[in-house]
């Protein structure tokens, strides 16, 4: 009688396709294809859609736009600085409409909107890279969502289904608190790795494989046999994902 079900002639029927959750007598169905439902502590990747007074509106593939308050970001000059009126006026210098950020969910409002924060050096504006959008239910909940893959690129697996691929940064000064975006030319080898990873992510998403660092890595390795552009062909996708699934099963068993 919970969400996602209805009574059809005395029989409880699911109205959405998904996983069944049972708590004593309450049966709910959690749909597979859905908007992102945020929980406290999730890592998300979002895009700034509006700059308002003392806050930014962030699009995170959920039912409502998420909110990033000015008091929840790291400003240069230390964390304990008071937010002045000047900070409000220069909000656009930090984050504009169209910028991509990585953030963490601080709290959930009563209407379901998320409140985000970037109060850590690992969060902040994202620079050069590739964004891949998949369904939020495909991203596995793990301890960490920032991975430096051994193949030569890094990935942020946002819980909202936005996956960010970027070249692994070298040693860089973090004094700006994550708002420093490097515009150096990315070398061709890194670009190739990232393109291949992007196609692998799309292949895994098309076959509804749970996405986490191990599955992405296995998929990358089994895709090395093919050219990057061939990975998007349906037959090749099938093969690669089959090998990946096999390796994941072997690893678990």
């Amino acid at each position: 009688m919970g969400h996602g079900t209805y009574m059809d002639d005395e029989k409880l029927t699911a109205s959405v396709a998904g996983e069944v959750e049972r708590v004593n007598k309450l049966i709910c169905v959690r749909p597979l294809k859905t908007r992102y439902n945020g929980e406290v502590g999730d890592v998300i990747v979002g895009r700034i859609t509006e700059v308002q007074q003392k806050r930014w509106k962030v699009e995170t593939n959920s039912r409502l736009d998420s909110v990033l308050l000015l008091s929840s970001v790291n400003l240069p000059g230390g964390e304990l600085r008071r937010r002045s009126a000047e900070d409000e006026l220069t909000m656009r210098d930090y984050l504009q409409e169209g910028d991509l950020i990585s953030a963490e969910v601080q709290s959930v409002f009563s209407d379901g909107a998320l409140s985000l924060h970037t109060r850590s050096l690992k969060y902040g504006k994202l620079g050069q890279g590739v964004l891949v959008q998949v369904s939020p239910s495909l991203v596995k909940r793990q301890k960490t969502h920032f991975h430096n893959l051994p193949c030569g690129a890094s990935i942020i697996l946002g819980n909202n289904g936005f996956l960010w691929l970027y070249p692994t940064p070298g040693q860089q000064d973090e004094e700006e608190g994550g708002y420093y975006t490097s515009l150096e030319l990315v070398p061709l080898s890194d670009r190739e790795v990232i393109s291949r990873l992007r196609n692998c992510l799309l292949a895994l998403a098309a076959h509804k494989v749970l996405l986490y660092d191990t599955s992405v890595l296995y998929c990358y390795e089994s895709s090395l046999l093919y050219q990057i552009k061939d990975i998007l062909k349906p037959e090749t996708m099938d093969e690669i994902v089959m090998v990946t699934r096999q390796r994941l099963l072997d690893q678990e068993g």
């Binding site: 169209g98 030319l185 070398p187 061709l188 037959e235």
Partner: protein, 381 residues
């Protein structure tokens, strides 16, 4: 729900691509996406796939008293609905501007062009006429709803058959489909809408814009034409200023496209007619691709890349040198492949290399269990 706005980098990329005559899906400027027309089991039910845009049209008829101003003409009623399953921006009961525009354009295209002979729909003058009702439902929105809707509507009208009537004095007998074969509508010509999207204040134009291209376009020109090169309606929206030559050029392009599309519609109608006549299966279920091996095959679309080569070379030369390419498997002998060079074999024995091809299992042992007392063990190399 409010639609997610297109991100700045996507917008810039699309505009730059259009300026260099490239489109996101590899089409040329004047190319349509692949059109698929399929008919249902009932007469008058037609589904059109224009790329990923899906539209369903259903025609039905009813005997009603005619309009007072036109007692000898039948009535054509057109209705287009934007289903919320087409896009998160569509809501069921909201009368949006897009809905009104599409409805008006469809009416202008089909009713004002007089493509259907309404006089033949009259049964008893002043008392009973046929009212033909066309319901168009948008099932998926991926750009260019107008063209898809017009193709679906005219195909459904051509496919539709109304019940036969016999008039004896004042008595009207309507025969069911079992008693007498239903009669098709009398259609003079087939008007089809062609949409042109304009960018950068009319400098660049694209035919059949997809959803992303529609979001960044400046203006839209919809031209309804039939294959006899008669223009049925023109509508320009978006407030861009078009030159006379541009409109003339669009009309020329439209005439070519309309003849192609009319060809497609006629072929689909013919196929459906053949299937019904021969007693074969027809309907939506049959026209959907089955789960076969060839269902995985996808057509390759070629993208012109010759002029980008120079820019690409520049970027590559500026960036650092790439690492060496992984060598592809070298076939040493049939059934064995070699990738890279292994280390020196320190066993002192001659061993075969492991096979690199995935999915091929070599059966080394086969046990044949038979009823005999002796167990025969067969080993295969």
């Amino acid at each position: 729900m409010r639609e997610t706005p297109l991100s700045n980098c996507e917008r810039l990329f699309l505009l730059k691509a259009i300026e260099s005559k490239k489109r996101l899906d590899g089409r040329q400027t004047y190319d349509y996406r692949s059109i698929k027309i399929s008919f249902g089991t009932d007469y008058g039910c037609c589904s059109v796939n224009l790329g990923k845009t899906r539209v369903l049209a259903q025609v039905s008829c009813e005997l009603v008293p005619p309009k007072d101003s036109r007692p000898t003409e039948g009535i054509i009623f057109l209705n287009l609905e934007l289903s919320p399953m087409a896009s998160p921006a569509f809501q069921t009961n909201r009368q949006s501007e897009l809905l009104v525009t599409l409805n008006r354009q469809l009416e202008r295209c089909l009713r004002n062009s007089r493509c259907i002979d309404t006089e033949s729909l009259c049964v008893v003058s002043g008392e009973k006429v046929w009212q033909i009702r066309v319901d168009v439902h948008v099932l998926n929105h991926d750009g260019n709803l107008m063209d898809a809707a017009s193709i679906a509507a005219i195909s459904a009208l051509c496919h539709f058959k109304r019940p036969d009537v016999a008039i004896q004095g004042r008595d009207v007998t309507v025969f069911g489909p079992a008693e007498r074969d239903p009669v098709p509508l009398s259609i003079y010509h087939m008007p089809v809408c062609v949409s042109f999207a304009f960018f950068q204040q009319g400098t660049y134009l694209l035919v059949d814009p997809c959803e992303k291209e529609e979001l960044i376009m400046d203006g839209l020109l919809v031209m309804a034409m039939n294959k006899h090169r008669e223009i049925c309606s023109i509508q320009s929206s978006g407030g861009i200023m078009l030159l006379k030559e541009q409109v003339l050029r669009c009309s020329k392009i439209a005439s070519v496209k309309v003849s192609e599309i009319t060809e497609l519609i006629n072929k689909a109608l013919e196929n459906d007619r053949q299937a019904r006549k021969e007693g074969g299966k027809f309907g939506f279920v049959e026209s959907m691709p089955k789960e076969r091996i060839t269902a995985l095959k996808r057509e390759e679309s070629l993208v012109e890349m010759t002029d980008v080569q120079e820019t690409a070379d520049q970027i590559i030369s500026k960036a650092a040198a790439g690492h060496e390419v992984v060598p592809s498997p070298v076939i040493v002998a049939t059934g064995t492949g070699q990738v890279g060079e292994g280390l020196q074999n320190t066993w002192g024995l001659d061993e075969e290399d492991e096979e690199e091809e995935s999915g091929t299992k070599v059966e080394k042992r086969v046990e044949v269990i038979s009823d005999s007392e002796e167990e025969d063990v067969v080993i295969l190399d």
